[in-house]
Symmetry: C3
Subunit: 205 residues, 3 copies
């Protein structure tokens, strides 16, 4: 229930950040809407495809489509005021990362997938929207560039499954995992924690 509210806030925030990314590439209004859509709903779409979970989530909730398209278009109007809300957006994005990851886990659990697949389903839901956005904007996905982002998704999924395994009640396990993910992500931003990178420049091929 609370997760649903967080989910709708999160897809709105993701759609708006996707629209800004489109603006950085000078895309037209159709491009803005597509990138907003893909950023917000692309992760869940890829998860549903990989799990064979049909019909795909958003096709059953047309309201989600209107919400994402409106958020994308609205962003083009209020973009210049959004810098002031930058901190709010970082928090919403962190909340969304945690909520998307949890929702992805739960879909895979309900379909009786094995634990590593459940964790992957959570991470796909949390991260693939941003990867699709970056591929369509013709850049290497930002999530591969050292930010502590995917690791937060992994931590949320693992914590949730661990708590469930220990018999913690569902709503409490959800609340703890979302809050822990939010705190970890904001700490990583605040303290500048980064993942090490791997550089390899031998001639190989």
């Amino acid at each position: 229930m609370l997760l649903t509210v967080v989910y709708f806030v999160a897809i709105t925030a993701e759609a708006m950040s996707g629209a800004l990314a489109a603006g950085q590439r000078n895309l037209d209004f159709f491009g803005v809407v597509v990138i907003a859509f893909v950023t917000a709903l692309g992760g869940g779409t890829i998860r549903d495809l990989v799990l064979g979970h049909f019909p795909i989530g958003w096709t059953q909730h047309p309201g989600t489509i209107y919400l994402v398209v409106s958020a994308g278009l609205l962003t083009t109007l209020i973009a210049r005021h959004m810098v002031r809300l930058k901190r709010l957006f970082l928090v919403l994005d962190a909340m969304g990362l945690a909520a998307f990851s949890l929702i992805g886990c739960r879909v895979a659990v309900e379909m009786d997938y094995a634990t590593p697949v459940v964790i992957l389903a959570g991470m796909i839901t949390g991260i693939c929207g941003g990867i699709l956005r970056d591929v369509l904007c013709n850049q290497v996905p930002i999530v591969f560039s050292g930010e502590l982002y995917a690791v937060v998704s992994l931590a949320v999924c693992a914590l949730y499954l661990g708590l469930a395994f220990c018999g913690v009640a569902e709503p409490i396990a959800i609340a703890i995992s979302v809050v822990a993910g939010l705190v970890l992500r904001l700490l990583a931003i605040w303290r500048g924690w980064r993942l090490p990178t791997f550089s390899y420049h031998e001639r190989w091929d």
Copy 2:
């Protein structure tokens, strides 16, 4: 019936234009065939995946595969003569856009999806082939760059559904929507109508 003829003409034209795009990137003959295939059949493939519509269309019609592969290879032979046919190709591409969009709508209608999903299915069918072509050629999709292209697809889908809702007979609704889409697209090219773009260059991340 007429839609089927238009469809085969359109996938041939799309495959040929995909092959030319591959030639602009100096791809090898295998790359030419892949880009031709993806440009012509990629939109329908993504639509079928998103709708959970299995088996995917072209897997049931191997003739389509031969047609697209042949069209791609043929293009490498006659490419230097094709500039003279540039106008013909613009018309065929506009026809294809309208036909693909309609076919996508109809698949989603038959599967009882809600109206916004039906329209999206039409637009995915019309546009995603070109998006996949551009992603594989490592460039930002042209369809996001201001051409009145996706909007034509949207107009065709909306007009078709509107006419069907008003009780217009199926073949007439199809004919009107295709012709209207064709006219709108050619007018947009002729008059240089463009979609506004959204530019945003604040430091955000």
Copy 3:
């Protein structure tokens, strides 16, 4: 049986070569693991999606996930020693290409798809992992740049189907096709055989 052993060796080799490609882009450790995963298992995933073959292969074998993730991370430790193994990797990659192609064919045959779809399924399995890797690394797929790679996959698929059609026993048909593919690929590397490219630079759009 033998095909299974070759398969596991091949996905390990593909994951390691994917990790090196990620290192050439200075990706972080999460990016390394994603690129390793996608290079090794992406081809089979796309094949299963296109054929509507659910659940997708690796979701039923979590061991595959651990193997690929470990191979990717291990590569970051031993990368500087791997140049000495360059020839071994070329052989493993060629073996993997043949094995992936055959496995893809067999999945499509079991699902009663028509022959051209069976061949496409084999080629998708053999090649799409590398295509996904290159798209995520923001470059035009290497497989389109003239290497005799996709053609080897096509030859393996066609030879296998031809032998099966002539009544050759399954294990013998598999062995002959894999060996023929391996030899053809290594000959192509050794002799520098390349596919012609198609260049087209008229102003078109």
